[in-house]
């Protein structure tokens, strides 16, 4: 029993290590992945940002950065999905399944690797925010709490990514699915306050799970735009930033496990 546990830790590390090696060998991927949030900061912070209005007034970039952080986490769905789908199509998943390794390690290794990557990505995006003049104003404790909530969102996205990756089964299909999902990650309070959108769109944006994390991050970082909404969902951001990811994980984790087991049908 103990031996089994030890092996599953060893196997998880081997799979995690595989992913980390990828980053060392192919820095282009790192740069590509990091370029995305940086591009968003520049695009929205400077190009569109000049025309943006922040409810309650204040600096737009101060408003924007928590939105970018949450988006970076949500984009993780696309990454996870593509990696899983590629492994299936290339037969690497089959090879893993034919080895005497702990089967759970295929998933726990993926988890660990993606969380490490995302954490690194988040730190760099935060650094990028500091460069353009964003900062937290409410103490380091609250700031760390905000980071924890962002990572919780990434954790939920991980399971959505694994599930979709197992279903689509090829990187090309993963690309198309991500094309459909991408707008969903955009209809949020990340760039524009929902109050300023048409009613129906504002409603969708407020109830988008991403928006709760965005709102909570604004609140905990002490940035502008927090708690300006008068709707229930808008004023319970921190609570919902815990509830949403937990609910999403509770749905997609068992779905992923079931889907994984169905590979042998």
């Amino acid at each position: 029993m103990i031996a089994r546990l030890q092996w599953s830790v060893y196997d998880t590390w081997t799979i995690t290590r595989r992913d980390l090696l990828t980053w060392i060998i192919s820095p282009v991927r790192v740069i590509g992945e990091l370029a995305f949030p940086i591009m968003f900061v520049l695009l929205f912070g400077y190009v569109f940002g000049s025309g943006m209005v922040v409810p309650g007034g204040g600096d737009y970039r101060d408003f924007l950065m928590p939105g970018i952080f949450a988006m970076t986490m949500a984009f993780g769905i696309g990454n996870t999905m593509t990696v899983v789908a590629t492994d299936i199509e290339r037969g690497v998943m089959d090879r893993f399944r034919s080895l005497p390794m702990a089967p759970s390690a295929i998933v726990t290794g993926r988890c660990t690797a993606d969380m490490i990557n995302s954490f690194a990505g988040l730190l760099i995006t935060i650094g990028c925010g500091l460069v353009v003049g964003w900062s937290w104003h409410d103490g380091l404790g609250n700031a760390l709490l905000a980071v924890a909530l962002l990572l919780l969102l990434r954790f939920a996205c991980l399971w959505v990514g694994i599930y979709l990756g197992l279903i689509v089964g090829s990187p090309e299909a993963a690309g198309s699915v991500w094309g459909l999902l991408f707008p969903v990650t955009m209809v949020t309070s990340a760039f524009v306050a929902p109050e300023l959108m048409p009613n129906w769109l504002g409603f969708l944006a407020e109830w988008n799970p991403l928006s709760s994390t965005v709102g909570a991050a604004r609140e905990l970082f002490g940035n502008v735009g927090a708690n300006t909404a008068d709707s229930w969902i808008g004023s319970h951001a921190v609570l919902m930033a815990v509830v949403w990811p937990v609910v999403i994980s509770a749905i997609f984790l068992p779905l992923s496990v079931r889907r994984y087991q169905r590979l042998s049908r």
């Binding site: 081997t14 090696l21 037969g91 690497v92 034919s98 080895l99 005497p100």
Partner: protein
């Protein structure tokens, strides 16, 4: 009695409306090579996936290396190697990193995994490419890396699904050599292929499968005897010589030849190919006929199929598609 390394008993598997395995039986003695021969869609890959614990069968029983495929999958996995139809390697990692990773997943220590990786790279002629990402490998190199990955633990039973498809003759020979070496060290091999020639080169026994069941089994020689063995094609220089040559060839081969007068070609079955060939050459010389071309050829897979099923291998897929 020989120990059996692979026993399959009435394997059945269906995908919605396709029956992939329809009561497949196999018995492969330890230390031998069994070739699974069959056209596209015959169920070869499905059989391999079931035996390698990747796919659950609907009914039937199977033991691999002494362990039950369904109730002891982990024990089976510790004793097998699998090379699937794709090259299942990580594109981004280097050849060496790939083998190291798979070694660790075989529960070798990091140091042992690295050592084994280097040994395998050497053995498969990949040492020079060891530090290059697998993405940059040629098709043949990828295939060899993939094979190396399934040899990490010198498996008791090795499954090879079309190991040489898409390989040039040199690579094909290399793969065959590696398989032979492994077998001489005691590994049992189950090999799927479309090529009669490949099964002939490697296999001690062949099971011809079609529509999910074994339709013929035996040693390569037995199977070839069933389709009439090799054929001798003789093309004579002058049309006037055809009938004389045909008589000489009939005498030499002992079977009645078929004659294509227009092409000046005489074809005769040759049960003992080498003996028949020299007899034919001598016979032609005796009657003073000049041969323009003499060729000994093996029956093709199509001929085997035509003989065994009464229809060519290729036609099957077409009729299957119509039915689907």
């Amino acid at each position: 009695m020989d120990e059996l390394a692979i026993v399959a008993d009435g394997l059945r598997k269906r995908y919605r409306d396709t029956v992939a395995l329809d009561g497949l039986d196999l018995a492969v003695p330890e230390g031998t090579v069994c070739g699974l021969l069959g056209p596209n869609g015959a169920g070869k890959t499905t059989a391999v996936r079931v035996l390698a614990t990747l796919l659950r069968m609907d009914s039937g029983r199977a033991r691999v290396a002494g362990c039950d495929v369904v109730s002891e999958p982990r024990a089976v996995r510790a004793r097998i190697g699998l090379t699937s139809q794709h090259d299942a390697v990580d594109d981004v990692l280097t050849g060496r990193q790939n083998l190291e990773m798979f070694g660790r997943l075989h529960h070798l220590s990091p140091r042992a995994a690295r050592q084994r990786a280097d040994e395998l790279l050497e053995r498969f002629g990949l040492t020079e490419a060891a530090l290059r990402p697998a993405k940059k490998y040629s098709g043949g190199m990828r295939r060899r890396l993939d094979l190396a990955a399934s040899f990490i633990r010198a498996p008791r039973v090795l499954f090879l699904d079309e190991p040489t498809t898409g390989q040039d003759p040199r690579n094909r020979n290399e793969v065959w050599d590696v398989v032979r070496t492994l077998v001489s060290e005691g590994t049992t091999v189950l090999l799927t292929t479309h090529y009669l020639d490949e099964a002939d080169q490697l296999a001690d026994s062949i099971s011809v499968i079609d529509r999910g069941r074994v339709i013929a089994a035996g040693t390569p020689a037995e199977l070839k005897a069933r389709v009439g063995g090799s054929q001798i094609d003789v093309v004579v220089a002058a049309e006037s010589d055809v009938s004389v040559a045909a008589t000489a060839i009939e005498l030499a081969c002992g079977g009645s030849p078929s004659v294509d007068a227009l092409a000046r070609r005489i074809t005769a079955p040759a049960a003992e190919p080498v003996a028949a060939l020299s007899a034919v050459l001598r016979g032609l010389e005796d009657v003073g006929v000049t041969a323009e071309d003499v060729a000994l050829r093996r029956p093709t897979l199509d001929e085997v199929f035509l003989q065994l099923t009464g229809r060519p291998a290729a036609e099957k897929t077409a009729s299957e598609e119509v039915a689907a």
